[in-house]
Symmetry: D2
Subunit: 399 residues, 4 copies
């Protein structure tokens, strides 16, 4: 393996989400997984297992208040002792009873204030945990035409984002996520990348767009959005997962691995761009998993996700960029296409085993995980928690 390839692969990072280690489900049912993590400490233990086996997943995203603790310094220390650090902070403004009709876009100013206050609390948690990124997803929207004023809601969204932007520490960012639908079924306030991008332009330089792979309409070309936002200097990060239908939140790379490869190919291209803004933007992209492991073992699912990203990135690094550009410039459609697909068809697993050997990691992380009996151990220690359907429920936080 050449040195550039080695150093690129060594430098790859995938952040795992605390909530991916706990129980989750669909609106119909949350199946109880034996050993699913019950609190943030156990989630960090699980994340440490993923990091131990892969070496490229040291960051862990928090979700507040699901991961709320008394003492964030202690949490930071706990993470650090396990080779981890705290990644993006994800505020929850969709589970209080007050948010039935929205949070920062709610028609009632008091509710908007409550939601914004929570976002600002999360900025404070960023300071305490040393997190760089505030990751903002809003369930805000409407279910019926006429239910609320679309332009008024847009303005409320902008006002809230502006306030939060003003509170961000130096060197930090807010990542603005968009979504076509769910849980809103008529109109979602941040409905696509264009809406998120427009708000980012308006509120300031620290605001960047976050692309979740499952949040687009059918047929949308995600790598093109990636390329566009890189070129505009406004791509902040990803929530990686896979889908066939809606926001299925499956393991990344499992439904169309070629799409994941094409996305990475744009990122590699951006990171090597002659344009300063594009290159700098590409280099600062936050790569985060955001999945819902409904029927599969949580830790193994996360491990598989990280490995799928690693394989996609490795293949993207193998694209012969000179050959590609030459074919593109002479309008040789099929030759150019083949430069890309030749890289994709390459079996990168031997290469990655070599990398793991050099880094002292298990050559086959899945096998190592299964042989370690980690899953059985935590099942024994933590038991099986049955609960309601859907996502975790927050207990009332502010009193």
């Amino acid at each position: 393996m050449n040195a550039d390839l080695l150093s690129a692969l060594q430098a790859q990072r995938i952040e795992t989400p605390s909530w991916g280690y706990g129980n989750s489900g669909t609106r119909f049912k949350t199946f109880a997984a034996p050993g699913a993590a019950r609190d943030i400490w156990e989630k960090l233990d699980d994340a440490a297992e993923v990091q131990r086996l892969t070496g490229i997943a040291p960051g862990v995203a928090l979700h507040i208040p699901w991961d709320e603790v008394e003492d964030y310094a202690e949490l930071k220390k706990y993470a650090s002792e396990r080779g981890l650090h705290i990644g993006a902070i994800n505020p929850n403004v969709f589970q209080d009873e007050e948010y039935r009709l929205g949070s920062v876009t709610h028609p009632d100013e008091d509710v908007r204030e409550q939601a914004t206050a929570h976002l600002l609390d999360c900025v404070e948690i960023m300071r305490q945990t040393g997190s760089r990124d505030l990751s903002l997803w809003f369930a805000d929207g409407t279910n019926y035409a006429g239910q609320d004023d679309l332009r008024a809601r847009k303005r409320r969204m902008r006002a809230a984002l502006k306030r939060v932007h003003g509170a961000l520490p130096d060197g930090s960012r807010m990542l603005v996520e968009y979504k076509l639908f769910e849980p809103a079924f008529y109109a979602t306030d941040l409905f696509d990348w264009g809406a998120a991008y427009s708000h980012c332009l308006a509120v300031g330089e620290k605001a960047q767009v976050l692309v979740d792979l499952g949040h687009h309409a059918q047929g949308v070309n995600i790598e093109q959005i990636v390329a566009f936002l890189l070129d505009e200097g406004r791509l902040g990060g990803f929530h990686f997962n896979a889908r066939r239908y809606a926001d299925d939140d499956l393991i990344v790379g499992t439904t169309n691995p070629f799409e994941l490869f094409c996305i990475y190919a744009e990122l590699v291209s951006g990171a090597n761009s002659a344009d300063d803004l594009t290159r700098r933007t590409a280099q600062n992209v936050a790569y985060m998993i955001d999945q819902s492991h409904n029927i599969e073992p949580k830790v193994e699912a996360m491990l598989q996700s990280v490995l799928n990203c690693q394989e996609a990135y490795a293949a993207a690094l193998l694209v012969d960029r000179d050959l590609l550009r030459e074919a593109q410039e002479r309008g040789d459609v099929l030759a150019a296409h083949r430069v890309l697909t030749e890289a994709f068809k390459t079996d990168v697993r031997p290469l990655l085993r070599e990398l793991r050997g050099e880094l002292g990691l298990p050559l086959d992380p899945i096998r190592a995980h299964r042989e370690s009996a980690y899953e059985e151990k935590v099942a024994r220690e933590r038991g099986t928690q049955t609960g309601g359907g859907g996502y975790p429920v927050r207990e009332k936080v502010r009193s």
Copy 2:
């Protein structure tokens, strides 16, 4: 209003689902509605309110075990005293922990047996409640390519349907529902009308296809499926609701009222067909609401749903079928289209007020409901139940 129109409108029936009166939500959150019904008795009270105001919604579908009671004769009597009757029985084979990988298509025979036994229990409840229709929806499917054998699962499905069909009382039916996706995200075992239809053909005459308006891929022409199944004598019933995206389960008729009208236009056409099988099939269609009222008041939402169906049906009855046929036969594309749209554009609200006057019903059911303060009354009596996300959770039934 002419006599035919009056008698058709008087004869219209829309069955409401017990679960539409209780709390429901998305995977992210179930918002607690004040006064939401807490058990089947309260659900029947709510259904009686809808029937009192509309006169066309006497049937109530049950969901087992959510609506399980000790004594179904008592339940039947309770319903009957309120001008109601028990409609379709809906077995739940998606919330036991055993069903993580499927129910009747599960790789493990014991689980399949457990699920089939529950279906057979529900047939027994049909007998006890006098219900005509067993309404079968399966969450069964897989999330990842390769997870299970698609042909094996198909055969397990067929075997289970055959057993249940064999147990059906004379004069009763099983309605086989299909769905593109959710909660399964790779393959759903009953994935479209063609799959349901094929199984119905194979298992016997009492098996009919159930069309849920939210269970299709984008762009699918639902009224054409309706027409096709009518002509094949295999349309059993509907689950009415509305969607823009996935299975949004919004109030029927709120996203594309013209589509609802077109569906009713096919049903009216079928009910007037010269073909015996088509006509008989159309006359036996079960019209059922199946919605998830996440943010709106439950009883008013159901009322609105029934009224939307009434308006769509009334407009469909106004189509001038002779004019339509003539225009179709001479290939007059736009004239034929206009015969349909002229009926749709007609404001049927005056007509329906007239109908209600003749039937001694409130002329404006929504206003009558709001003025009755029913919602405030039940909110006071029942309080506000907060709970987990998603759908109701069954308690373990078989021991």
Copy 3:
């Protein structure tokens, strides 16, 4: 009818496209319509018939070079004598053999230059015809991943738009149209409103986004894009048509009339906004038909389109905005929704007959058209032109 309503309806304008009067088809076949217009003079005759019958369609969009003439002053005069004026100028940069791999985004600079020169020629035609709007649609895109560099193409697009913007006369505008796909099947360079909007922001104040109703992914909420762009002051105009699947280019309002109503409702709301920018933007929106009448008579299809827009607008004007705002502000989901749907359910045909009476127009334009035997007359005079599949083919223009 109150005076405000009357004056609003009198002021409504719908521009018809010259190409809607000629033969058009799908890639499989263009069926020859008897009497289909053969040149721009006949197209203007047909447009005059639509204007004679409706009174709200005096503008006619040109497509260059399909409608190229020696003397535009003569064309302008011809139009004016028929109560018409020249509307938007639509350059064609997708039918020269050189454009196989794109026009302004083509990898070859010479081709880009040729395309840009044509756009600048069209700006000159704007001057000569008094047209306010340059309407830009590009077929540019790629069919295979890797075929060309997505960021490079974006930059080429921006450079071309900037040059054209610089050449625009005072008081004129360029309308930038986007499209999800077709004829490009991997990536379209202007793929959605966000891309068009970003380019408009970058090139200058005269650049505005054009929304074609058939150019979105399934499920996209178009009225929300309308509201967003109005609020940003960047909504320039519409291409009206209808679709169920892709860019079907059917008669506007025929697949989901409620959606068309919701779009008009946002436009009425914007035109009455307290915000200067929003209001001014809404008042300058260009309403244009862009359809492909493959199987139906051309003039009647256009007439029907104009009438469908008139009905949708009339209903949107009936929305009780005070009631709506009150219901929205108190979070009364269903009441707010009903304020909108009550207007939609109103049969506006009597109102529009009244309007036509006051304006001295035929009360039933479709019937008047059919009785006028215009179609038979032009069929006799023009004959039936058979031709190839697809859109008209340009003859080579520059030599």
Copy 4:
């Protein structure tokens, strides 16, 4: 390479379509490709080039009347001399002016008769060419709700299929293709596999369903339809191509190679089934390319298509079926999924080079093709034919 693998790969067949060697385009433009084949003789020459380089593409599908000749015995001989044989016969019932409102489902009986007569003529061509399969695609459908009676059209379709079925020679089949939309935009008469399957059941044993990869709604799981039809004994064949959006007709395997692999994995599974009907059905599947090479060189595009199918099939053959079944049976979701993906990740190019070596074929067919300068030669000999937009236009055939 083990013997089973070798023999399976040697036995693979992909039929290429005559029309894939001629000019084709979108409704907007058909770009003229230098050297595109001008008649069936040149198309056979091109097909021979593809067969020479791949060894697995000896069959060529005809499209009638595009490929109509005086003497089919001569055509058969011409093919045979080039190592080719005549594959499926594809009647064209969508380009006569009479078919504006449909062919076999047209409201006018004379038109239906004309269309059916053409289908029967094609059965005669089957006899003369020794073709086994009549491949039926109908553009029939409607563009507007109400335009025609959906049930009447269904019955007309069935009647026509029944007549054609009755005329089929022993040992031959009719393959019934379905399509979601295009060129019909409201309702397509054969709208999905369920409709095609229902007709096949009704008309007889020689009728089988044809799956075109681009003819489904977004999100539809094609491999599941394949599995279902195999199990029912009604899968007749494929039209292979790729799409992101609608019926894009791109080179097969270029948008989601994993999907193509999953389809082949079902076919391999079916061909090894213990069930007689399933196995026999799988073994008789007709694999045909159906693409529209709008911007890429025709012969190279076809070559690439055949190679993509070869790679997908090779990978599908590598699936460890025992391991897969074991993992499926124990409900090990991720292990089962990985058995599939391990095969997909394998780089099969070395294996296929080995195969080609053993068969005496060029090791790198694309390179061999480029080095042969075939494309330059035919460009020189045939020139560049410019023409109208869209598909080839038939000249009037019956007089």
